[in-house]
Symmetry: C2
């Protein structure tokens, strides 16, 4: 590995500032899924915490840094999970948190952001417009903009998942990572490549939001005009160049999966693992479903990264 922007020492240090409710999450084999999928399947569960996603790991690092630097306010764009996590981390430290989101975002996520006391601004467009608006607010108000995946704290927080995988002592062939902006993939990928280089890091993105995957394959930033996926947590159109550079160092592959496979993955996680997951968290299972031969007989870990769904939509996807 030529080197990324991340440093494993900083990832280790991050553990010391993250609320322990986000750390040391369950890692367990799910044999009922293995029988269906034809490979060893272990689940790293990132949903059993106050914000139901892994994003708290990163926002804890962000918020701690803000407090140490004397900052009082912070703004981010979010599809919902980062905003919820930043609201949670900020509230406990007396920070004023503003979250900018698309008005088409998952309702349950927006409700939780409000309930956690953050100021919520909705834009009449997609996540990229929310990013632009958040940047404008930061500039106008002179406050810190948290840019998911670009800001190293968000990657370092995610990287602590990688440390836990390595330190579990379990042996894996492959880690399947949901790919959106890239914080999860570069964070986990950096740690795996440094501490367990034999483990394959495979990123998974919906075919309906393929910008980062296309960029990884072409080794240059490729943007798309629009997105069309239920996996709201990973639906970006404009990859960040620095993040792509890191991803090129740590990812062994990046694959695209169909909406049908994502839904099938969600249903399998419900039926065979008893897990409610949001679409982004089913991407790993979807990748196995789309290429059973590739994974046959291998030991695979999939990071179940979030469970924030609208109950009605979930029932529609998973019900029969």
């Amino acid at each position: 590995m030529e080197g990324t922007r991340l440093d494993t020492g900083r990832v280790r240090a991050a553990r010391g500032v993250i609320d322990r409710g986000f750390l040391d999450t369950p890692l367990f084999r799910c044999e009922a899924l293995e029988a269906e999928l034809g490979c060893g399947v272990s689940i790293k569960l990132e949903t059993a915490n106050p914000v139901r996603s892994f994003k708290g790991r990163g926002t804890e690092v962000v918020a701690r840094g803000l407090v140490e630097s004397g900052s009082r306010a912070v703004v981010c764009a979010s599809a919902g999970n980062l905003g919820q996590a930043l609201a949670w981390s900020g509230r406990g430290r007396g920070l004023e948190v503003t979250v900018v989101a698309s008005r088409f975002a998952t309702v349950a996520k927006l409700e939780r952001i409000r309930a956690l006391g953050a100021r919520l601004e909705l834009v009449d467009g997609d996540h990229e417009l929310a990013r632009d608006r958040a940047a404008a607010i930061a500039q106008y108000e002179g406050i810190r903009l948290v840019e998911d995946s670009l800001d190293l704290e968000t990657c370092e927080g995610a990287g602590t998942i990688g440390l836990e995988l390595v330190e579990s002592g379990a042996s894996f062939d492959t880690v399947l990572v949901a790919l959106g902006g890239g914080a999860l993939a570069t964070g986990v990928g950096h740690v795996m490549k440094e501490l367990a280089p034999g483990v394959e890091v495979v990123c998974v993105q919906p075919s309906g939001a393929p910008a980062m995957t296309l960029s990884w394959h072409e080794r240059r930033v490729v943007t798309t005009e629009s997105t069309d996926t239920i996996a709201d947590g990973v639906a970006g159109r404009r990859p960040i160049p620095e993040v792509l550079e890191d991803l090129l160092q740590v990812a062994d592959d990046a694959v695209l999966v169909s909406e049908a496979s994502i839904i099938a993955g969600m249903r399998m996680l419900f039926e065979h693992a008893g897990l409610v997951v949001e679409p982004s968290a089913a991407l790993g299972i979807a990748a196995i479903l789309e290429d059973r031969e590739r994974f046959a007989g291998r030991d695979v870990v999939t990071i179940v990264c979030g469970s924030n769904v609208d109950a009605d939509a979930y029932q529609r996807w998973v019900g029969r």
Copy 2:
């Protein structure tokens, strides 16, 4: 506390023999539930492990003891979760495991017992008949009978949940514990009463399977003719005298809840916590729903003890 059959030192020692996949389970506040229930709600999640229930904590202690004593085989009666856990713990140690269950048991549980390599015997009756049959097999084959709740290992394993609650550093007013045979309640209750005596231990049982709760209130064993509840994991009719004696020492209250409240609890855990739970694991939420005034403003922990459900039945209960 006058003393139970349990010893906190032995509960501590149990931690050393339990596979770590069952230990240090998530404990987190669920504010979305708090808004609905009017009290502080923390969840102790016992479903993110290879058998989707807390029972592995106890069967690990049982199986370790069997191996140390040179035993090769073991039999238990189970509504499904103990059998699954014993099959898991026994398989890893080369033990022959026989599980006796009612033929009316939850299909998913029976399938997992078989898949884990245990011999499964079905009886044409309820759980109490399965207990009789398991005892007969043990006697005939000269092998160890594991009696849930009577055998101290099962209570000590459950007690490790109590240790984790105490050591979390969080402060609670009340712990809500599902009550069936009593291992979970006496195990957790013993530890709480010894290490955190100010925390109220409230046991919750379905009105359709009230034998242990009636016994606790009358301070003598009360049996019932039949059971009628979807909470299969706690549907016993014949309380064990020794377990009742322990329960009288450690429980502050034992309450009964309706099937409607159990279903409402399952639905709330799905909608507001993103958790699939089996009916027994919703008893705590059901207790709050049935007596909001009692719990108003208090900080309550509920142990989500299992998630083994038949997917179709779950959809029927939780769907709208």
